[in-house]
């Protein structure tokens, strides 16, 4: 109970802090408009209305991922700049319980990106998004958010040790768009890429959202998405102590 309370309040606090950044807010407004516009123009050329819905949903999840990968990367760097990272490490709670809400807060910001992309598609490009299975769609979205947030947490743990690791977060943004099938089906990618895609929760989250929207069966994808999310959390918790020990040994916590 205490753990859940800590995660819940940590999420609220981090979300409040992130949403008060004018720079981050500006990006959060810009991303969905930019992603949506590019995707809709690309797929409009094909003249297939189904492809536009495919692109619309893909662009929406792109927003979630971009918000998470960028913010998870920079959030701990920001803690360093603020001088609060050492205070978080010096707190008696397990560091993973302090950082997990950071990942969840970043993916929550992605919800706005998702809604804004869908609205942009509807208002500017006239794409009517009909959801065949609203309940499963409603289940697929939080499953995707949670698992993407867990992936953000895993990325963030690394930042406690490596102060330049924020660049990795930014670097992972575009490859994941492709590898997880946000804009193009995985079947078009080389075979060797697929095992990497399967290890990434956004792949399953994306499938689940599309399947729920088009009336296919999304439950297996939702389960896989949640399973991978849980695995990220377990790995993150297990490596946290080792990462922190290395950071304390190398004195990298206070470096900016």
């Amino acid at each position: 109970m205490r753990t859940l309370r800590l995660i819940g309040l940590g999420w609220l606090f981090q979300f409040k802090q992130m949403s008060r950044s004018s720079f981050d807010s500006f990006l959060a407004i810009l991303w969905p408009i930019f992603f949506g516009t590019v995707a809709f123009f690309m797929f409009q050329q094909g003249g297939d209305p189904d492809a536009l819905i495919y692109a619309g949903l893909g662009a929406a999840v792109m927003g979630i991922w971009t918000a998470t990968s960028m913010a998870a990367g920079t959030s701990l760097q920001r803690e360093r700049w603020l001088g609060t990272l050492e205070l978080l490490v010096a707190a008696p709670q397990h560091f993973s319980l302090i950082i997990l809400p950071v990942g969840l807060a970043t993916s929550t910001i992605g919800v706005y990106c998702m809604v804004a992309t869908i609205l942009w598609g509807r208002l500017v490009f006239g794409i009517e998004l009909t959801i065949e299975q609203p309940l499963l769609f409603a289940l697929a979205i939080p499953a995707t958010l949670l698992s993407v947030g867990a992936l953000g947490f895993l990325i963030a743990v690394a930042f406690a040790r490596y102060r330049h690791a924020w660049a990795l977060g930014s670097m992972s943004e575009y490859p994941v768009w492709l590898i997880c099938g946000f804009l193009v089906p995985l079947t078009l990618l080389p075979d060797w890429v697929r095992p990497i895609s399967w290890l990434l929760a956004p792949t399953w989250g994306m499938n689940a959202i599309r399947d729920a929207a088009t009336g296919a069966a999304p439950l297996a994808d939702i389960a896989m998405c949640l399973l991978l999310g849980a695995a990220y959390v377990v790995i993150g918790v297990l490596v946290t102590d080792r990462v922190l020990h290395a950071a304390r040994a190398r004195a990298s916590l206070s470096l900016t």
């Binding site: 309370r5 609060t84 010096a90 397990h94």
Partner: protein, 323 residues
């Protein structure tokens, strides 16, 4: 049993220079520091910038792992039982960093109360009483980005005391504060000591250490060079005399010449608005005023005075002896 024990603590940093051809170098920041702090004691760690004060404190609060040696807080090893140590300590550092600027002072305290495991029912009354203690009542709902340096510092103190820790580490808490703010903060620190907290205070303000600390260790270049009560340390230089000469623009070579005079224990220069004060500690049985003035040929000399040594002179003497 001592509340805080440092036994032969060492800490080496590895730094590099250059970009393509990196040259690595080991810097020994702390070299065999040992001391003990008893329950309820206010212990001062004094030293110049770069002496190893913050590195020592960071090893004690589990943020750095010692390269060699051990340390215990309330019997818990700072490396092996880091979590137990963290439950029992509060950490406050000086300066403006360490607060979430986009959030209110109350939100900052609320978040850290959760991280420090304060029972939910106690959080609100604890924050209220700490806001009263540090004089931030009425300003707690404002974003901290609008706080003055002193207000941020007082917020730090409140944060460090949220979980009512028995041991408090204060790392240069009054640095950069205006005189009134610093005096108020010193009063708060004194009240913590009166409340029975065990406190380790690092500072390079002598009068602060003199006024607050039960015992002091002087650290220089990573080593403890003296330890005792403020009176003990002053006694170490009580035999001597201090000559203060006001000068207007004194070159470093002149200071070196004064330092080399026979009977001189230590020399320091203090900036005082347009002038400098050349402070020369001499042995008790020598009269060096004329010799000192003789070395200042060409310099514009103002007021000259002789006085008894203070704790600051003891400190300068200790630190200079190591150079």
């Amino acid at each position: 049993m001592a509340v805080v024990e440092a036994l032969d603590l060492h800490r080496t940093y590895r730094t590099s220079t250059g970009t393509l051809r990196r040259k690595w170098k080991n810097v020994e920041a702390v070299r065999g520091v040992s001391f003990e702090i008893q329950e309820g004691e206010l212990f001062g760690l004094l030293g110049p910038n770069g002496a190893g004060k913050t590195t020592t404190i960071k090893m004690l609060i589990t943020l750095l792992i010692p390269t060699k040696g051990t340390a215990r807080v309330l019997g818990h090893d700072v490396v092996r039982d880091a979590r137990e140590v963290r439950k029992n300590i509060g950490y406050v550092f000086g300066g403006e960093r360490g607060v979430y600027e986009r959030l209110s002072g109350y939100d900052n305290l609320r978040y850290f109360a959760e991280l420090y495991g304060v029972p939910p029912k106690e959080i609100r009354p604890r924050i209220e009483s700490l806001l009263q203690l540090v004089g931030l009542k009425g300003r707690e709902q404002e974003r901290t980005e609008g706080y003055s340096r002193g207000m941020k510092q007082r917020l730090h103190i409140a944060r460090g005391l949220l979980h009512d820790p028995p041991v408090v580490f204060l790392d240069e808490p009054t640095i950069g504060l205006d005189p009134v703010g610093a005096r108020e903060l010193r009063a708060t620190i004194a009240s913590l000591a009166d409340a029975g907290k065990t406190i380790l205070l690092t500072t390079h303000y002598m009068f602060e250490a003199d006024a607050l600390c039960d015992r002091i260790a002087v650290i220089n270049r990573g080593e403890i060079v003296a330890e005792g009560t403020p009176a003990d340390l002053k006694r170490g230089v009580a035999e001597g005399t201090v000559v203060e000469v006001e000068v207007f623009g004194i070159p470093e070579q002149t200071v070196e010449r004064v330092r080399e005079l026979s009977g001189v224990v230590a020399v320091s220069v203090e900036e005082r608005e347009q002038a400098q004060a050349l402070i020369v500690q001499t042995q008790a049985d020598v009269e060096l005023t004329q010799s000192i003035l003789g070395q200042l040929d060409g310099a514009n000399v103002g007021r000259i005075s002789r006085r008894e040594p203070t704790l600051e002179d003891a400190y300068v003497s200790l630190v200079s002896a190591e150079e």
